[in-house]
Protein backbone atom coordinates (compact mmCIF):
# COMPACT_ATOMS: atom_id res chain seq x y z
CA UNK A 1 0.00 0.00 0.00
CA UNK A 2 2.03 2.91 -1.29
CA UNK A 3 2.22 6.32 0.31
CA UNK A 4 2.74 9.65 -1.44
CA UNK A 5 6.47 9.22 -2.02
CA UNK A 6 6.21 5.62 -3.22
CA UNK A 7 3.51 6.64 -5.67
CA UNK A 8 5.61 9.50 -7.01
CA UNK A 9 8.69 7.29 -7.33
CA UNK A 10 6.61 4.75 -9.21
CA UNK A 11 5.40 7.45 -11.59
CA UNK A 12 9.02 8.47 -12.17
CA UNK A 13 9.78 4.97 -13.46
CA UNK A 14 7.60 5.59 -16.51
CA UNK A 15 9.60 6.18 -19.69
CA UNK A 16 10.47 9.84 -20.19
CA UNK A 17 9.33 10.92 -16.70
CA UNK A 18 10.93 14.19 -15.59
CA UNK A 19 9.06 15.10 -12.47
CA UNK A 20 6.02 14.15 -10.42
CA UNK A 21 4.01 15.99 -7.78
CA UNK A 22 0.98 15.54 -5.57
CA UNK A 23 -0.88 18.86 -5.48
CA UNK A 24 -3.93 20.18 -3.67
CA UNK A 25 -5.92 22.00 -6.36
CA UNK A 26 -7.76 24.32 -4.00
CA UNK A 27 -4.85 25.58 -1.91
CA UNK A 28 -2.17 25.12 -4.62
CA UNK A 29 0.11 23.31 -2.15
CA UNK A 30 2.51 20.55 -3.25
CA UNK A 31 2.12 17.68 -0.76
CA UNK A 32 4.98 15.75 -2.32
CA UNK A 33 7.50 16.17 -5.13
CA UNK A 34 10.01 13.90 -6.87
CA UNK A 35 12.31 14.67 -9.78
CA UNK A 36 12.41 17.98 -11.57
CA UNK A 37 9.46 20.36 -11.68
CA UNK A 38 8.93 22.08 -15.04
CA UNK A 39 10.68 25.45 -14.77
CA UNK A 40 12.62 24.18 -11.75
CA UNK A 41 10.26 25.62 -9.14
CA UNK A 42 8.03 23.10 -7.36
CA UNK A 43 5.89 25.73 -5.64
CA UNK A 44 5.25 27.67 -8.84
CA UNK A 45 4.40 24.48 -10.72
CA UNK A 46 2.05 23.40 -7.95
CA UNK A 47 0.26 26.75 -7.87
CA UNK A 48 -0.11 26.94 -11.64
CA UNK A 49 -1.22 23.35 -12.17
CA UNK A 50 -3.68 23.78 -9.30
CA UNK A 51 -5.23 26.73 -11.08
CA UNK A 52 -5.56 24.70 -14.29
CA UNK A 53 -7.07 21.82 -12.36
CA UNK A 54 -9.57 24.06 -10.67
CA UNK A 55 -10.71 25.66 -13.92
CA UNK A 56 -11.23 22.22 -15.43
CA UNK A 57 -13.01 20.93 -12.35
CA UNK A 58 -15.32 23.94 -12.35
CA UNK A 59 -16.02 23.99 -16.07
CA UNK A 60 -19.79 23.81 -16.23
CA UNK A 61 -19.77 23.31 -20.02
CA UNK A 62 -17.09 20.62 -20.31
CA UNK A 63 -17.55 18.88 -17.00
CA UNK A 64 -21.02 19.58 -15.66
CA UNK A 65 -21.61 18.49 -12.10
CA UNK A 66 -24.35 15.95 -11.77
CA UNK A 67 -26.63 18.08 -9.65
CA UNK A 68 -23.81 18.37 -7.13
CA UNK A 69 -24.66 15.12 -5.41
CA UNK A 70 -22.03 12.62 -6.53
CA UNK A 71 -18.74 12.61 -4.66
CA UNK A 72 -16.95 11.64 -7.85
CA UNK A 73 -15.17 14.66 -9.34
CA UNK A 74 -16.48 15.51 -12.81
CA UNK A 75 -12.99 15.44 -14.34
CA UNK A 76 -10.66 12.42 -14.43
CA UNK A 77 -7.53 13.87 -15.94
CA UNK A 78 -6.01 16.72 -17.93
CA UNK A 79 -3.35 16.59 -20.62
CA UNK A 80 -1.29 19.58 -21.62
CA UNK A 81 1.13 19.17 -24.52
CA UNK A 82 4.02 21.48 -25.35
CA UNK A 83 6.76 21.23 -28.00
CA UNK A 84 8.95 19.12 -25.74
CA UNK A 85 6.73 17.75 -22.98
CA UNK A 86 3.51 16.03 -22.01
CA UNK A 87 2.06 17.25 -18.71
CA UNK A 88 -0.50 14.97 -17.16
CA UNK A 89 -2.81 15.66 -14.21
CA UNK A 90 -4.80 12.83 -12.68
CA UNK A 91 -7.36 13.57 -9.97
CA UNK A 92 -7.23 11.34 -6.90
CA UNK A 93 -10.65 10.27 -5.68
CA UNK A 94 -11.01 9.91 -1.92
CA UNK A 95 -14.02 9.45 0.33
CA UNK A 96 -12.66 12.06 2.73
CA UNK A 97 -12.11 15.70 1.79
CA UNK A 98 -8.80 15.85 -0.08
CA UNK A 99 -8.91 17.75 -3.45
CA UNK A 100 -5.59 16.46 -4.81
CA UNK A 101 -4.20 15.33 -8.13
CA UNK A 102 -1.09 13.52 -9.30
CA UNK A 103 0.99 15.56 -11.74
CA UNK A 104 3.49 13.94 -14.08
CA UNK A 105 5.73 15.70 -16.56
CA UNK A 106 7.08 13.57 -19.42
CA UNK A 107 9.72 14.20 -22.02
CA UNK A 108 7.81 14.28 -25.29
CA UNK A 109 10.45 12.36 -27.23
CA UNK A 110 10.78 9.50 -24.71
CA UNK A 111 7.38 9.51 -23.06
CA UNK A 112 4.43 7.32 -23.94
CA UNK A 113 1.33 9.36 -23.24
CA UNK A 114 -1.17 6.52 -23.52
CA UNK A 115 0.79 4.29 -21.18
CA UNK A 116 1.43 7.12 -18.71
CA UNK A 117 -2.25 8.00 -18.63
CA UNK A 118 -3.27 4.44 -17.79
CA UNK A 119 -0.51 3.94 -15.21
CA UNK A 120 -1.15 7.26 -13.50
CA UNK A 121 -4.81 6.36 -13.11
CA UNK A 122 -3.82 3.06 -11.50
CA UNK A 123 -1.36 4.77 -9.19
CA UNK A 124 -3.95 7.35 -8.11
CA UNK A 125 -6.34 4.55 -7.19
CA UNK A 126 -3.75 2.39 -5.48
CA UNK A 127 -2.44 5.27 -3.39
CA UNK A 128 -5.78 5.68 -1.62
CA UNK A 129 -7.57 2.38 -2.11
CA UNK A 130 -4.77 -0.14 -1.66
Amino acid sequence: MPGIDESLLEAMRLPGARGALVVDWISGLALGAVGEAPGGDVEATAAETAELARLAMESGALAPAHAGQGKEPPVEDLILTTADAFHLLRFVVTTFDSTVFLFLSLDRADGNLALARIRLAEMADRMVLG
Binding site: G28, T94, F96, T99
Partner: protein, 260 residues
Protein backbone atom coordinates in the same frame (compact mmCIF):
# COMPACT_ATOMS: atom_id res chain seq x y z
CA UNK B 1 15.56 22.52 26.82
CA UNK B 2 14.42 22.21 30.39
CA UNK B 3 11.93 19.59 31.41
CA UNK B 4 9.47 22.17 32.73
CA UNK B 5 6.86 23.79 30.56
CA UNK B 6 8.43 26.98 29.31
CA UNK B 7 6.30 30.10 29.09
CA UNK B 8 6.73 31.30 25.55
CA UNK B 9 6.24 34.98 25.02
CA UNK B 10 6.58 36.19 21.49
CA UNK B 11 5.19 35.40 18.13
CA UNK B 12 4.43 31.81 17.22
CA UNK B 13 6.22 31.97 13.82
CA UNK B 14 9.35 33.31 15.48
CA UNK B 15 9.32 30.68 18.19
CA UNK B 16 8.58 27.90 15.71
CA UNK B 17 11.65 29.02 13.77
CA UNK B 18 13.80 28.81 16.89
CA UNK B 19 12.39 25.40 17.84
CA UNK B 20 13.07 24.12 14.33
CA UNK B 21 16.67 25.36 14.50
CA UNK B 22 17.08 23.63 17.87
CA UNK B 23 15.53 20.45 16.43
CA UNK B 24 13.17 20.58 19.38
CA UNK B 25 10.47 18.05 20.30
CA UNK B 26 7.32 19.14 22.10
CA UNK B 27 4.03 20.99 21.85
CA UNK B 28 3.65 24.72 21.22
CA UNK B 29 0.30 26.21 22.19
CA UNK B 30 -1.02 29.38 20.55
CA UNK B 31 -4.30 31.19 21.19
CA UNK B 32 -6.00 29.10 18.53
CA UNK B 33 -4.15 25.83 18.24
CA UNK B 34 -1.29 23.49 19.12
CA UNK B 35 1.77 22.61 17.05
CA UNK B 36 3.43 19.25 17.77
CA UNK B 37 7.09 19.12 16.82
CA UNK B 38 9.48 16.19 16.59
CA UNK B 39 13.16 16.86 15.97
CA UNK B 40 12.27 20.35 14.72
CA UNK B 41 9.66 19.19 12.20
CA UNK B 42 5.92 19.71 12.45
CA UNK B 43 4.28 16.31 12.94
CA UNK B 44 0.78 17.42 13.83
CA UNK B 45 -1.33 20.54 14.38
CA UNK B 46 -4.69 20.93 16.04
CA UNK B 47 -7.06 23.86 16.11
CA UNK B 48 -10.59 24.29 17.41
CA UNK B 49 -11.38 26.08 14.14
CA UNK B 50 -10.64 23.15 11.85
CA UNK B 51 -11.92 19.57 11.89
CA UNK B 52 -9.67 17.00 13.56
CA UNK B 53 -8.21 14.17 11.48
CA UNK B 54 -10.53 11.63 13.10
CA UNK B 55 -13.57 13.72 12.20
CA UNK B 56 -12.44 14.17 8.60
CA UNK B 57 -12.01 10.42 8.25
CA UNK B 58 -15.01 9.11 10.14
CA UNK B 59 -17.63 11.71 9.26
CA UNK B 60 -16.90 11.31 5.56
CA UNK B 61 -17.33 7.56 5.83
CA UNK B 62 -13.72 6.86 4.84
CA UNK B 63 -13.26 5.05 8.14
CA UNK B 64 -15.82 3.56 10.53
CA UNK B 65 -15.77 5.35 13.90
CA UNK B 66 -15.26 1.99 15.62
CA UNK B 67 -12.11 1.42 13.52
CA UNK B 68 -10.74 4.82 14.40
CA UNK B 69 -11.33 4.37 18.13
CA UNK B 70 -9.94 0.89 18.12
CA UNK B 71 -6.71 2.22 16.64
CA UNK B 72 -6.63 5.03 19.21
CA UNK B 73 -7.16 2.53 22.01
CA UNK B 74 -4.59 0.04 20.78
CA UNK B 75 -1.81 2.38 19.74
CA UNK B 76 -2.53 5.73 21.39
CA UNK B 77 -0.34 5.09 24.40
CA UNK B 78 2.54 4.14 22.10
CA UNK B 79 1.85 7.20 19.92
CA UNK B 80 1.41 5.07 16.84
CA UNK B 81 -2.25 5.50 15.94
CA UNK B 82 -1.47 6.51 12.35
CA UNK B 83 0.77 3.49 11.88
CA UNK B 84 -1.87 1.24 13.42
CA UNK B 85 -4.53 2.43 10.96
CA UNK B 86 -2.27 1.49 8.05
CA UNK B 87 -0.93 -1.76 9.53
CA UNK B 88 -4.41 -3.00 10.33
CA UNK B 89 -5.43 -2.36 6.72
CA UNK B 90 -8.04 0.27 7.52
CA UNK B 91 -6.33 2.95 5.43
CA UNK B 92 -3.62 2.96 2.78
CA UNK B 93 -0.47 4.88 3.64
CA UNK B 94 -1.39 7.31 0.86
CA UNK B 95 -4.88 7.95 2.20
CA UNK B 96 -3.55 8.50 5.71
CA UNK B 97 -0.86 10.90 4.46
CA UNK B 98 -3.28 12.90 2.32
CA UNK B 99 -5.85 13.16 5.09
CA UNK B 100 -3.23 13.97 7.69
CA UNK B 101 -1.48 16.65 5.63
CA UNK B 102 -4.87 18.10 4.77
CA UNK B 103 -5.75 18.38 8.44
CA UNK B 104 -2.26 19.57 9.43
CA UNK B 105 -2.08 22.53 7.05
CA UNK B 106 -5.73 23.40 7.73
CA UNK B 107 -5.17 23.54 11.48
CA UNK B 108 -1.86 25.38 11.07
CA UNK B 109 -3.57 28.16 9.14
CA UNK B 110 -5.92 28.79 12.05
CA UNK B 111 -3.35 28.15 14.78
CA UNK B 112 -1.31 30.99 13.26
CA UNK B 113 -4.29 33.30 12.75
CA UNK B 114 -5.35 35.79 15.40
CA UNK B 115 -2.39 37.60 16.79
CA UNK B 116 -0.10 34.60 16.34
CA UNK B 117 1.07 34.71 19.93
CA UNK B 118 2.81 31.65 21.33
CA UNK B 119 1.54 30.95 24.81
CA UNK B 120 3.60 28.03 26.00
CA UNK B 121 5.97 25.31 24.88
CA UNK B 122 6.00 21.93 26.57
CA UNK B 123 9.19 20.04 25.72
CA UNK B 124 8.99 16.34 25.06
CA UNK B 125 5.23 16.24 24.58
CA UNK B 126 4.24 14.08 21.62
CA UNK B 127 0.88 13.58 19.96
CA UNK B 128 -0.78 10.18 20.20
CA UNK B 129 -1.22 10.03 16.45
CA UNK B 130 2.51 9.61 15.93
CA UNK B 131 4.56 10.87 12.99
CA UNK B 132 2.84 10.37 9.64
CA UNK B 133 4.65 12.71 7.30
CA UNK B 134 6.65 15.39 9.14
CA UNK B 135 6.78 18.82 7.48
CA UNK B 136 9.51 21.45 7.87
CA UNK B 137 8.44 24.44 9.97
CA UNK B 138 9.36 26.83 7.15
CA UNK B 139 6.97 25.03 4.78
CA UNK B 140 4.10 25.27 7.26
CA UNK B 141 4.69 28.98 7.85
CA UNK B 142 5.08 29.81 4.17
CA UNK B 143 1.94 27.90 3.27
CA UNK B 144 -0.10 29.64 5.97
CA UNK B 145 0.93 33.08 4.68
CA UNK B 146 0.22 32.00 1.12
CA UNK B 147 -3.25 30.83 2.09
CA UNK B 148 -4.04 34.15 3.71
CA UNK B 149 -2.95 35.96 0.53
CA UNK B 150 -4.99 33.55 -1.59
CA UNK B 151 -8.18 34.32 0.34
CA UNK B 152 -7.57 38.04 0.03
CA UNK B 153 -7.02 37.74 -3.71
CA UNK B 154 -10.36 35.98 -4.11
CA UNK B 155 -12.40 38.47 -2.06
CA UNK B 156 -10.75 40.78 0.48
CA UNK B 157 -13.40 40.59 3.20
CA UNK B 158 -12.25 38.60 6.23
CA UNK B 159 -15.71 38.90 7.78
CA UNK B 160 -16.78 36.06 5.46
CA UNK B 161 -14.51 33.73 7.42
CA UNK B 162 -16.05 34.36 10.81
CA UNK B 163 -19.52 35.88 10.60
CA UNK B 164 -22.78 33.99 10.14
CA UNK B 165 -23.40 33.96 6.42
CA UNK B 166 -26.53 34.69 4.46
CA UNK B 167 -27.58 34.44 0.82
CA UNK B 168 -27.94 37.77 -0.95
CA UNK B 169 -31.36 38.70 -2.36
CA UNK B 170 -30.11 38.13 -5.95
CA UNK B 171 -28.83 34.64 -5.16
CA UNK B 172 -31.06 32.60 -7.44
CA UNK B 173 -30.65 28.92 -8.30
CA UNK B 174 -27.17 29.45 -9.76
CA UNK B 175 -25.32 26.56 -11.36
CA UNK B 176 -22.28 26.09 -9.15
CA UNK B 177 -19.31 23.73 -9.18
CA UNK B 178 -20.03 20.77 -6.87
CA UNK B 179 -17.96 21.83 -3.87
CA UNK B 180 -19.16 25.40 -4.02
CA UNK B 181 -22.73 24.22 -4.40
CA UNK B 182 -22.46 22.05 -1.30
CA UNK B 183 -21.10 24.96 0.75
CA UNK B 184 -23.75 27.30 -0.66
CA UNK B 185 -26.52 24.87 0.25
CA UNK B 186 -25.59 25.24 3.93
CA UNK B 187 -25.58 29.05 3.95
CA UNK B 188 -28.70 29.79 5.97
CA UNK B 189 -28.18 33.11 7.73
CA UNK B 190 -26.99 31.40 10.92
CA UNK B 191 -24.04 29.15 10.16
CA UNK B 192 -20.48 30.43 10.07
CA UNK B 193 -17.81 29.15 7.69
CA UNK B 194 -16.38 26.84 10.37
CA UNK B 195 -19.83 25.39 11.05
CA UNK B 196 -20.43 24.83 7.35
CA UNK B 197 -17.05 23.10 7.05
CA UNK B 198 -17.83 20.92 10.05
CA UNK B 199 -21.25 19.96 8.66
CA UNK B 200 -19.63 18.93 5.37
CA UNK B 201 -16.68 17.16 7.07
CA UNK B 202 -14.51 19.41 4.90
CA UNK B 203 -11.36 21.25 5.85
CA UNK B 204 -12.18 24.76 7.00
CA UNK B 205 -9.72 26.63 4.79
CA UNK B 206 -11.03 24.86 1.71
CA UNK B 207 -14.53 25.88 2.72
CA UNK B 208 -13.37 29.48 3.19
CA UNK B 209 -12.11 29.47 -0.39
CA UNK B 210 -15.52 28.43 -1.69
CA UNK B 211 -17.34 30.91 0.53
CA UNK B 212 -15.09 33.80 -0.48
CA UNK B 213 -15.69 32.89 -4.12
CA UNK B 214 -19.43 32.92 -3.44
CA UNK B 215 -19.01 36.32 -1.78
CA UNK B 216 -17.00 37.58 -4.77
CA UNK B 217 -19.82 36.41 -7.05
CA UNK B 218 -22.31 38.34 -4.94
CA UNK B 219 -24.20 35.24 -3.83
CA UNK B 220 -23.24 35.23 -0.16
CA UNK B 221 -22.59 37.97 2.38
CA UNK B 222 -21.96 38.23 6.10
CA UNK B 223 -25.35 38.34 7.81
CA UNK B 224 -26.33 41.72 9.24
CA UNK B 225 -25.26 41.80 12.88
CA UNK B 226 -27.90 40.64 15.29
CA UNK B 227 -28.90 43.12 18.01
CA UNK B 228 -27.04 40.83 20.42
CA UNK B 229 -23.90 41.84 22.36
CA UNK B 230 -21.31 43.33 20.02
CA UNK B 231 -18.31 41.32 18.96
CA UNK B 232 -15.06 42.88 20.09
CA UNK B 233 -12.42 42.84 17.42
CA UNK B 234 -9.00 41.71 18.59
CA UNK B 235 -6.71 44.75 18.41
CA UNK B 236 -4.24 44.42 15.60
CA UNK B 237 -5.83 41.24 14.28
CA UNK B 238 -8.29 42.90 11.95
CA UNK B 239 -8.87 39.60 10.23
CA UNK B 240 -9.98 36.62 12.20
CA UNK B 241 -12.59 37.04 14.84
CA UNK B 242 -13.20 33.50 15.93
CA UNK B 243 -14.15 34.19 19.48
CA UNK B 244 -17.51 32.54 19.59
CA UNK B 245 -18.56 31.51 23.10
CA UNK B 246 -18.23 27.78 22.41
CA UNK B 247 -14.69 28.33 21.13
CA UNK B 248 -13.70 29.99 24.37
CA UNK B 249 -15.20 27.11 26.29
CA UNK B 250 -13.41 24.57 24.13
CA UNK B 251 -10.14 26.37 24.68
CA UNK B 252 -10.58 26.33 28.46
CA UNK B 253 -11.44 22.65 28.32
CA UNK B 254 -8.36 21.98 26.22
CA UNK B 255 -6.16 23.86 28.66
CA UNK B 256 -7.65 21.95 31.58
CA UNK B 257 -7.07 18.62 29.87
CA UNK B 258 -3.52 19.51 29.02
CA UNK B 259 -2.85 20.45 32.60
CA UNK B 260 -3.75 16.94 33.77
Amino acid sequence: MTAAAAPADGSAPELLGTLAADRATGALTTRSGIFYLAAGHVVHVESAHSPALGDLLTRSGALAPAGWWEAVERAGARQRVGRQLVDSGRLTAGALELAHLGALFDAAYFALAHDGTALRFRPGVAHWLGAVRPVPVATVLRESYRRRALLDRIWPDPAVDTAPLTRTPDAGPAVLPPRRGRAFALVDGGRTAAQIASALAHRTFHTLVELRRLAADGLVAPAPPAPAPPVHPVPGAGRADWDEPDTALLRRLLDALEAL
